[in-house]
Symmetry: C2
Subunit: 357 residues, 2 copies
């Protein structure tokens, strides 16, 4: 009841090991009749190649590279931590991950970094994309050089990448809208939407989702969009002013970063606060949720995104099709009650002596 080996297949097919191997690895030079026999034997025995042995023999090393935005935004910090954690966890898996930081929101810098990547020394690449013609060209050139390219968190509009791993921001926006509607059951309200930048594509999509959802709720009106540029201080000023100007605000949906300022403004508010929905379960958001200053956080699960990106890169590097459905991350909704046990950016203890991965 042992797992069948290629030797078993060869014997069952009545051919030599070499021939079975030629079929399995498509080396060519095999008569159609023999090939059919081998394939039948593979089928009959339920043979699967032992990937461990194969990779061992091939001395395959997967060299992946992540180009992530620098800066101290909690979300990107969490993303980088997730990459490092996965790098540790997969060290035993013939996967070598290099993490470099590029200036955030800077398409030119990203393009430069992409152009510096040597296709011979890299099997796969994951980037948080900013769209630009030069970026698209760099991606195309890398792909032509045999490098798998995956966009993470934010997609490059025109670029022909292998896959986009991240949430559907339209869905995220609609989800926020649904939470708003839920919190306004039986009453009308006024919702303040706050983006990081109107120009950011993901924020625009979230906003569109929100609008779509609220279009189905007659009692809910939307205020003009506020732009906080992901800065806590601007956010604080902006939200403070809006709350003072419009006492009827019953909901705030913040689509970007800088929510520390939003929480401060809420804390300073003398009356019952509006319903608040944020993005990304970073430490501050978590605290605000636990403190009851925020109602819900929509999270794109960076750890899961990194894992999915790596699985896809690995599949592509092996010449397999990317695992279906792995790329599309469904945004998680966190309420104060269902927070995951450990703060974002969990540490994984990678044992060096331990056995299997």
């Amino acid at each position: 009841m042992r797992k069948p080996t290629l030797h078993d297949v060869a014997r069952a097919a009545g051919v030599s090991y070499a021939t079975a191997d030629r079929v399995l690895n498509a080396r060519g030079g095999v008569a159609a009749k023999s090939e059919a026999r081998v394939r039948a034997a593979i089928e009959a025995l339920g043979y699967t190649r032992d990937v461990h042995a194969a990779n061992l023999s091939r001395r395959r090393l997967y060299r992946f590279r992540f180009l992530l935005p620098d800066g101290d935004h909690s979300f990107f910090r969490a993303l980088r931590a997730a990459v490092l954690a996965e790098a540790g966890a997969r060290a035993g898996d013939r996967v070598r991950i290099t993490l470099s930081e590029v200036p955030a929101f800077d398409a030119e810098a990203l393009a430069e970094a992409l152009e510096r990547v040597e296709p011979e020394a890299c099997d796969g690449l994951a980037i948080v994309a900013s769209g630009s013609a030069r970026v698209s060209a760099a991606i195309a050139s890398l792909r032509a050089g045999g490098v798998a390219v995956v966009t993470l968190v934010s997609d490059a509009p025109g670029a022909a990448r292998d896959a986009y791993v991240g949430i559907d921001n339209l869905v995220a926006g609609r989800t926020a809208g649904r939470l708003m509607r839920l919190g306004h059951t039986g009453r009308s309200g006024l919702v303040l939407p706050v983006v990081g930048a109107r120009a950011a594509q993901d924020h625009a999509e979230r906003l569109a989702g929100l609008e779509q959802s609220l279009a189905g709720a007659p009692g809910l009106a939307l205020l003009p969009v506020a732009e906080a540029f992901d800065s806590p201080s601007r956010m604080r000023a902006l939200v403070g002013a809006a709350l003072a100007r419009e006492p009827g605000i019953s909901g705030i949906y913040s689509m970007g970063a800088g929510n520390r300022g939003l929480v401060e403004a809420l804390r300073a508010l003398g009356r019952p606060r509006p319903l608040v929905v944020l993005h990304e379960l970073v430490p501050h958001a978590r605290e605000a949720l636990e403190a009851g200053l925020v109602d819900a956080v929509i999270d794109q699960k960076p750890v899961q995104e990194v894992a999915a990106a790596l699985d896809i890169l690995r599949a592509l590097a092996d010449g397999r099709p990317a695992p279906a459905g792995r790329a599309r991350i469904t945004p998680a909704i966190y309420l104060p009650e269902n927070l995951p046990a450990c703060p974002a950016g969990e540490e994984e203890d990678n044992d060096m002596m331990g056995g299997a991965a």
Copy 2:
């Protein structure tokens, strides 16, 4: 820039390969001084054992067995499907999974099945536990025989299993309570709690969570608990009657199965329906959510649970400690907007850490 091998470690430590191997695999008979040198070299080189080569050499085969409730409850069907899917996905990973069904909610039958398991032919076991002394004894005996035992979805109260993989049902209940409160912002209400069976521990915990959460909401009152015994027809009758008797019902939290009946009762209702929260994103629940007959579904992510159970079983079989945090699943909240793309059964990943394959 090659990955260091144990040979490299031995050379760096100034000992022979055999000695390095003795340290690595704790074979004993190594002087403390040499051991320290080897460990230092491991540290310095960042050596990690090549798990593929190791398992290849060991010709290790992980034989895991799942004992899951039979019957046609959608949830268990999804759970079984998840096991089969993982079995396929890990076939190349030296993991052989056997799935057997045992009569649902029958501690005696489970105990019998457990007693039939031969410890020599099984490295790990995952069961949906029903608590009983005989079950506990069988688990203890298996563990004594070197079999790792994990409870899945439902824990065995008194039993000394290696781990419980599943959600915290108290948390799930509190989460439902939060959704109820969110949907009752600015108004009072009357909530009908429905369990499968009052005796079921997980349902009792969910109910306790709900009560805890609603205790903090002055305007929300709880009706006496209804018991539907996981049967659609009973559920339909019971909820229909309650809705007729108590026109003021503004929320329903169903903690068990049989929700098809609940949805039918709602569909038959002539007036605006109450806020409805269910458990488990099975096909019916999904449809009801999409049709707007249900507001939220709390899901325990069976696919993720199975993956976590396997990771833990594997770690235990290797003699490693079970990966921390992997066992506790955070319940997911699904609204009509953030449903995963694929019907239940597809790959969905975990929150905490990436599993290397």
